[in-house]
Symmetry: C2
Subunit: 157 residues, 2 copies
């Protein structure tokens, strides 16, 4: 996958993150590109969907699995604006995603490089190619702005 293609898909993921922010959800967006070129895009929505598991990554993986009638997404690439947590890293392994491209590091719950390195764990039955820090500034700025606005809003109440 070319660098330009990576940037293009991460731009789409950032647009999804902005949709999440407008809905009052922590702004994280994801894009999943299947081996055959099909693209799925989604955003973080646990509050709106009443579903603790509804992170952006989980939603694109589920959507793609169901649409392709296959619980394995061999050869696919996942783009996500924030480093995946343990739940999402686990799903990435179960779905056999081939490559993960992410934006900002998540120092509090990141399970790809920050707290754990699940996608590189040789004891598990699948490892994933990883590219971190792609358009990290855009993703990080969105998150910071969101939490700043939320603090302001909470103080005003």
């Amino acid at each position: 996958m070319s660098v330009n293609r990576d940037l293009e898909h991460m731009q789409m993921a950032l647009e999804q993150a902005r949709v999440a922010a407008r809905a009052g959800e922590v702004p994280v967006g994801a894009v999943l590109v299947l081996e055959d070129g099909q693209i799925f895009a989604s955003h973080n929505a646990p509050i709106s969907l009443h579903d603790a598991s509804a992170h952006a990554e989980m939603r694109v993986i589920r959507d793609a699995c169901i649409a392709s009638l296959n619980y394995r997404l061999t050869g696919s690439t996942l783009y996500v604006t924030l480093e995946p947590c343990a739940m999402c890293a686990g799903a990435i392994i179960h779905a056999r995603v081939a490559r993960v491209v992410y934006g900002a590091d998540d120092r509090k719950t990141g399970a790809v490089t920050s707290l754990y390195q699940l996608l590189a764990d040789k004891r598990l039955n699948h490892q994933t190619e990883i590219t971190g820090g792609v358009m990290a500034d855009g993703a990080g700025t969105l998150l910071k702005q969101f939490f700043r606005d939320r603090r302001k809003h909470n103080k005003a109440q």
Copy 2:
């Protein structure tokens, strides 16, 4: 929660695991008891549902969240016949499940005691009470039988 109540709910989870086996899925079952006493039961079904994330634990968490219109299941107890993987442990944390009772250890992918100890990680924003080894023999026998039958079936083809 009394020991008898634990055994009763684990028995229900084992029944769910048997349903999974009959459907050709790895036999794992889960039961989630909410703080108000509501009970949700489900089984592992990634192949049938075309969903890499459709582990028994994920399904009961999602079902309970959606039914209670709440992405947090504070005060709930999750019973599962096999030690949860990283994906499920992550979802347990996100959903704020208070207690996890599991059956057999999963030495290959377990993320509660075996490979990782996610539910006790103080760096994450929620910790969970854990009781392992409850009716572990029943859960383990089901799994062993399932994989033995599958090997036999594959050899016969």
